[in-house]
């Protein structure tokens, strides 16, 4: 019953805040566009044969000189901007989502275990978390990326780029999950149902997964949303810095970096359309995160 009220209240809040509804719409549209990119994009930006330099630097269709075939214009290589952005968003979301999932599994796993077992294991996990919390996520991600560059043989560098980037981002975001999961687990550990489960002699892994985890999901869901936004931002930043994805398989960050070169020469669409896309994506995810937090923690309103 209580759950039902909470849910209907969430629904009520959702219907009554236009900003949240618009954000949800934007997020869903971008997710759909990114997922369906291979089917709905006019061209394939990874296929060198599909574009030609002859089409280079065409403006969007509503500007003078625009061509109907390239509705958002083309870059200097003649790549269609719509396709680049759809495929770029696909990569950004793929990396962001996988990094977020890895961070969640790792962080929640360690956090719940730390809260459940306590003692020395807890102390070790939390010290590591403390140290990492002192370093900003971007620095951690850069370091992991740098180490990977040093360790991996050169011929594997390119093919593993996406995995390395995902892992670097995941490893710099797990701390939030671990701390929240641990704190919530501590609270649950004092409740009778956990005592009962322990006395009944259930295996610890079962208690953690079946009993504790479902009861601490609320706050974790909020962190997952916020961290998805952070992961996407982090990937965009790394790619923008030239550390992330290379120019032949561009993510949104790489597209913005390429666009920077055209800031002075008047081809505004190469820079500003991917930028607008990235900002719209992150702002709407963050707004949804704020909304979820309000739903799960009515006290903060």
């Amino acid at each position: 019953m209580k759950d039902f009220i909470k849910r209907s209240e969430g629904l009520w809040l959702f219907v009554h805040s236009p900003a949240v509804m618009v954000s949800a719409l934007v997020a869903v549209l971008i997710f759909l566009g990114a997922t369906l990119a291979p089917w709905i994009a006019p061209t394939n930006p990874y296929d060198l044969a599909s574009f030609s330099l002859m089409d280079g630097l065409l403006p969007p269709v509503w500007e003078e000189g625009g061509v109907a075939k390239f509705s958002l214009g083309t870059d200097d290589q003649g790549r269609d901007m719509v396709s680049s952005i759809l495929y770029g968003a696909r990569l950004s979301l793929l990396i962001g989502l996988s990094a977020m999932v890895i961070a969640t599994v790792l962080g929640v796993g360690l956090g719940v275990a730390a809260g459940f077992y306590g003692g020395r294991f807890d102390a070790i996990v939390m010290r590591i978390a403390d140290i990492q919390l002192a370093l900003p996520a971007i620095l951690t991600a850069l370091l992991i990326d740098g180490v990977a560059r040093g360790i991996l043989p050169p011929e594997m560098q390119q093919s593993l780029r996406v995995s390395v980037l995902t892992l670097a981002i995941a490893l710099s975001l797990w701390v939030n999950f671990a701390r929240t999961a641990r704190a919530s687990t501590f609270v649950e550990m004092n409740k009778e149902y956990v005592h009962a489960a322990i006395i009944m002699g259930q295996r610890p892994i079962r208690i953690m997964l079946v009993h504790i985890l479902p009861n601490i999901l609320g706050p974790l869901l909020v962190i997952m949303t916020v961290d998805l936004a952070s992961a996407i931002l982090l990937e965009a930043t790394l790619s923008f810095l030239g550390i992330g994805l290379p120019a032949d398989s561009p993510s949104l960050g790489t597209l913005i970096r390429i666009g920077m070169q055209f800031m002075l020469s008047g081809e505004w669409w190469i820079l500003w359309i991917p930028t607008l896309f990235l900002v719209a994506l992150v702002v709407s995810i963050n707004t949804l995160g704020d909304f979820l937090r309000d739903v799960f923690n009515p006290g903060l309103r």
Partner: protein, 324 residues
């Protein structure tokens, strides 16, 4: 209180040791230093002789001790890429980053605290709603996009401010400062603002949350009833009590500012430590990466110590008993 400070000092030493260990492991295990230093034509005998001479065959603990004592004496080794001493490369870059960070921090405090107080006192006002909306968007826009927008608006469209480099600098001893020329200040504005935006919103939100909390408390109600003038009530009674958490976060954030300057420096081609670090990652220049890490950690530790001392200055309770 003395015990409190001492405890923090000991903790700091351990943190620095841990970071030094990390930097050392980076240097020692990510790639073989010998292959990095020698070319393809060096014979195997020469390589193993070099290995022996450099002490790379010694026990691990001995190597680490030597590494640490070298660092304490200011010997940070040589860059793989430029063959220059790392100490020199980093110290020549420190002033640029530090000046940028300090100005960014000042901007964020001088705008963030008043904005936080205002939005807490008028929670339903139109201005408050506008400010809150702006900060929400501000947090969601990545730093580099803010930088690009500022460059586009003030550098390209309006042509008011330079968009890269430090402009005019004045050399004071070994410190290259941009505080003493007009050009230097002009070049500093955009990057410092870019770097400060995130801290600004954070400071504002924090001050706002703390202020709203404090304003609800009994002693403020009592002070209002007593007829304490509004200005004194807000700033002397209320704001002073929000300062402990605010200072903690700002202190911790200063380290973040220094690290985040990597992005800002890249956008504005600001010749600081962050730009150096980026180059060192791109070229897998492990010694520079390691030393950058140690230097950043040192900043963190020093700032945290200062924050701890500020606690004592702000919160009189800490002067009486040992709370840690």
């Amino acid at each position: 209180m003395f015990y409190f400070i001492l405890k923090r000092l000991v903790q700091s030493v351990f943190v620095m040791l841990a970071v030094a260990f990390l930097a050392f492991s980076l240097f020692r295990f990510v790639g073989d230093p010998i292959t990095q230093m020698t070319g393809v034509e060096t014979s195997v005998e020469d390589q193993s002789r070099l290995r022996q001479e450099l002490g790379l065959n010694d026990p691990f603990v001995l190597q680490f001790t030597r590494f640490t004592s070298d660092m304490l004496q200011g010997d940070f080794g040589f860059s793989f890429r430029t063959r220059q001493p790392v100490a020199q490369m980093i110290t020549s870059r420190i002033p640029a980053t530090l000046e940028l960070g300090i100005v960014a921090l000042i901007i964020s405090l001088f705008v963030g605290i008043p904005a936080g107080v205002y939005t807490a006192l008028r929670p339903r006002g139109v201005v408050t709603q506008a400010i809150l909306m702006t900060t929400l968007v501000g947090v969601s826009i990545p730093t580099f996009v803010i930088g690009i927008m500022l460059i586009f608006l003030f550098g390209v469209q309006l042509g008011w401010l330079p968009t890269f480099g430090r402009g005019g600098t004045v050399q004071i001893g070994s410190w290259e400062s941009s505080f003493f020329t007009l050009e230097g200040w002009r070049a500093l504005i955009l990057p410092a603002f870019t770097l400060g935006v995130y801290q600004l919103t954070l400071t504002m939100r924090l001050v706002r949350a703390e202020m709203m909390d404090v304003m609800r408390s009994d002693y403020i109600r009592f002070a209002t009833a007593r007829g304490v003038p509004m200005g004194r009530l807000y700033f002397r009674h209320a704001l002073a009590n929000t300062m402990v958490p605010v200072i903690t976060i700002i202190g911790l954030q200063f380290g973040g500012v220094i690290a985040f300057s990597i992005v800002t420096e890249s956008v504005f081609q600001w010749p600081g430590m962050g730009l150096l670090f980026l180059e060192s990652i791109r070229f897998v220049d492990i010694p520079v990466m390691g030393v950058y890490l140690v230097v950043i950690a040192f900043f963190f530790v020093v700032v945290n110590l200062i924050v701890d001392l500020l606690y004592v200055a702000i919160d009189p309770r800490l002067r009486v008993k040992d709370v840690s």
